[in-house]
Amino acid sequence: MRAVRLVGLGWVFQMKMLLRSTFDGFLGILWPLFFATTAFLMFRVNNDGRTLLYAALGASVMGIWSSTTVAASSALQRERWYGTLELVVGAPAHFSLFLIPITLAMSTVGIYSMAATLLWGRLLFGIGVHIVHPLLFALAVPATIVSIGLLGFLLSVTVVRYRTAWALGNALEYPVWLICGFLVPLSLFPGWVRPISWVLAPTWGVRAIRQAALGGSPLKDIGVCLALAVFYGLIGTLLVDTVLRSARSSATLSLT
């Protein structure tokens, strides 16, 4: 019960911090719209409603990915910069109960990102959001968000150990857009890229969302997406204690 309360309050405080920064808030609102506009302009030449919806859904997952995983890595570095990382590590609560609210807060921003992208497409580009399987779509979206959130959690764990690992989040932002098939089909890439795509939950998440929206069978994709989410969560939780011990041993919890 205490753990649930800590995660809940942690989420509230993380959201407060995110929403109170004018700069972060401004970027958070505008950033997904830039992604969406770029995708819509690229795909508009086809003048095909289904293709545009395909692009809109891909762009919305791009927003979730960027706001969740990349922001989670930066958030941990910010903790180090504030000097609060040491204090949190020095607290008796398990460190994962501190990390999970950060990724949950970022995922919440991801939900906005998805809604804003689809609304932007509807209002400015006239893209009709007709969902073939609404129930499966309603299942695919949270599955994708949770899996991306837990991938962010796994990345955050490395940030605790390595002072410069926050750059990993930034470095992964654009390659993942490509290799997870957010904008273009995976079949366009060389065969060796595919195994990398398969271990990344967003690949299955965006496929599930598209299958649910455009008509298809998304259950297998949702299943793989959730299985990968559980895998990330387990690996992250198992790694936390080892990584923290290593950080305490190599003195990387503080800035200097």
Binding site: L9, G83, E86, G90, P92
Partner: protein, 322 residues
């Protein structure tokens, strides 16, 4: 049982230099120190920058793993029993970092209460009490980014006491505070010790250690060079007198001439705006003033006085080995 015990506590850091030819250098920050702090004692750890104070503290509060040796807090090993240590220790460091600037002081305290497992019913009573203790009552709903340095420091103290720890570690808590703020904080620290808490304090300010601490240890180059009550440490220089000479623009070589002057035990200089204050230690009863002034040559001299040695003089003697 001692509240804090360190036995042969040692910590090294590896520093890598170079790009193509990377070289790793091992720096000995703490070189096998031993000390013990009794329950309810206010113990001071004094030393210059880079002496190993903060490294020692970070090992005690479980943020660093010792390279060798052991440390225990209330009987719990800081490595094997880290979680038990964390429940019983409060850690406060100086400076204006260590709080969430975008949250209010109250939200900061609520969040850390949760991290320290303070039950909600206890939080309701404890947080207002602590805000009152540190003088932040009425300002708790303001965002921390608008707090002055002193207010942030007082918030740190409140945060460190949220779980009512029996052991409190304060790492240079008055650094950067104005004199009034520092005095108020010293009063709070004294109150903590009076309430029965064990307090480990590191500081650069000798008058602070002299006024507050039951016992002090002086650490230099990672080793404890002296330990005892402030009076014990002062006895190191009890047979000396200190001559203070205010000079305006010391000429090159003057300091060396003073240092090599017969009878002079040690010399240090403090910069004071346009003046330099020479602190010359010499055996008690030896009249050196004229001799010292002649060493300074034509330099303009202000106030000249002789006084009894303080803890600071003893500290300078110990860390410089004079």
């Amino acid at each position: 049982m001692a509240a804090i015990e360190a036995e042969k506590l040692r910590r090294t850091y590896n520093q890598t230099t170079g790009f193509a030819r990377r070289r790793t250098k091992t720096i000995e920050a703490v070189r096998g120190i031993d000390f013990a702090v009794s329950e309810g004692e206010l113990f001071g750890l004094l030393g210059p920058n880079g002496a190993g104070k903060t490294t020692t503290i970070k090992m005690l509060v479980t943020l660093l793993i010792p390279t060798s040796g052991t440390a225990r807090v209330l009987g719990f090993d800081v490595v094997k029993g880290a979680r038990e240590v964390r429940k019983r220790i409060g850690y406060v460091f100086g400076g204006d970092r260590g709080a969430y600037d975008r949250l209010s002081g109250l939200d900061n305290l609520r969040y850390f209460s949760e991290l320290y497992g303070v039950p909600p019913a206890v939080q309701k009573r404890r947080i207002p009490e602590l805000l009152e203790l540190v003088g932040l009552a009425g300002r708790e709903k303001e965002r921390v980014e608008g707090y002055s340095r002193g207010m942030k420091q007082r918030l740190h103290i409140a945060r460190g006491l949220l779980h009512d720890p029996p052991v409190v570690v304060l790492d240079e808590p008055t650094i950067g505070l104005d004199p009034v703020g520092a005095r108020e904080l010293r009063h709070t620290i004294a109150e903590l010790a009076r309430s029965g808490k064990t307090v480990l304090l590191t500081t650069h300010y000798m008058y602070e250690a002299d006024a507050l601490c039951n016992r002090v240890a002086v650490i230099a180059h990672g080793e404890i060079v002296a330990e005892g009550t402030p009076s014990d440490l002062k006895s190191v220089v009890a047979d000396r007198t200190v001559v203070e000479i205010e000079a305006f623009g010391l000429p090159h070589g003057a300091l060396e001439r003073v240092r090599s002057s017969p009878g002079v035990t040690s010399v240090s200089v403090e910069e004071r705006d346009q003046a330099q204050l020479l602190l010359v230690q010499a055996p008690k009863g030896l009249e050196l003033t004229q001799q010292l002034l002649s060493c300074l040559g034509d330099v303009r001299v202000g106030r000249v006085s002789a006084r009894e040695p303080t803890l600071e003089d003893a500290y300078v003697t110990l860390v410089t080995g004079a």
